[in-house]
Amino acid sequence: MTVKIAVAVDEKISKYVQALARSEPESYSDIVRALLEEGYKREIEKLHASYSRGEITLRGMARRLGLNYRELYQSLADKGLPL
C-alpha cells in the first residue's frame, strides 16, 4: 500500500534530486521515493543493530518505527533479520 506525502526539503537536497533527475531516467518523485526508502531501510538496520546489542527491546524498536508488534515481526522476517 502506498500513500502520498508532501514534504518540504532543504534546497541542497532539492538541487541534488534535480541533478539526479536530469542524468537518470527516473522522475523527480521516483528519486525522492528511493531516497526515503533507503533512509528507512538504514533506520531499520540501525534499530535492529541496537536491538541485537540489547539496548532496546523488540517493542521499543516497533514503537520507534511506528509499527505494531505484528508488523515489526513480519517486517524483520521479510528482510531476513533475526530475532
Binding site: Y51, G54, R59, R63, L83
Partner: protein
Amino acid sequence: MAASRHLPSAISYLLSAIRHTCRLAILAERCYNYSERRDRRQTLNKESSKAQTKLLFDTSSLITAAQFGVGAQFLIEFVAGYAQVIIPEGVKAEAVDLGLQAGYSDALELDRLIKAGAITVAKAQPADPPFETVVAAYDVEPGDVEILRLCRLTSDYDHVVVDDRLLYLILHRFTMRPIFLPDLIVVVAKERAITEEIGEQLLKAIRSRYRTGFIEHSLLMLKGML
C-alpha cells in the same frame, strides 16, 4: 474294576490340572493388573508432568512457535502437549488480536489453542513497589513490563520463553528463568515429550528466525554434546 483302579490317579491329575489353571489365571490377573497399573502410572506421569510444567511466553517466541512445525503439527502444539502455556493479555493482543486483524494463519492457530484451554491468558497486575521501581528504571515498553509482572506474580512457573535480547537479560537479572525458544525445544526433548529426531526437525524449521550460531548451539545441546 479297571476304571476304579485308575480313579485316584485321574482325580489327582484333574486336581493338578485345576491347580495349574488357577495358577495361570492368577498369573494372568497379576500381569493384567501390572499392565493396567503401569498404563495408569504412565498416564498420571504424563498428566502430572503437564500439570507441573508451566511456561510463560513472550510474543515473538509465541508467534514463531505457531508459524513453524514438523509435518502437520506446529511447535506450539508440541509445547502445549508438554506444559501449561500462560501468556499475559498484552501478548494475546499482539500475537492473536493483531494477527487475526491482519489475517495471519498462526493467529488463528493460537486463537484455537486459547479457546481449547491449551493456552491460558492471565492478567498481569502491578507488583510490589521495589520491583515496580526497578522495572520503571529500565524504561522498557508496556508489553515488556507485563511479561516481567507476570513472572513476578506467578510463583510456580518453570520458564519464561523469550527471544528478545534485552528482555532476556532483565529477566535473567531478576532470576526469572528465561529460556530461548530453541533451548526450550531441547528441554522438551530431554523430558522425552518429543523424540530427539522431532526436536532436531523443529530446530531446523525455526532456523531462519535466529541469528547464526543459536540453532547450531541448541542442536549440539540436543545431542548431548555440550
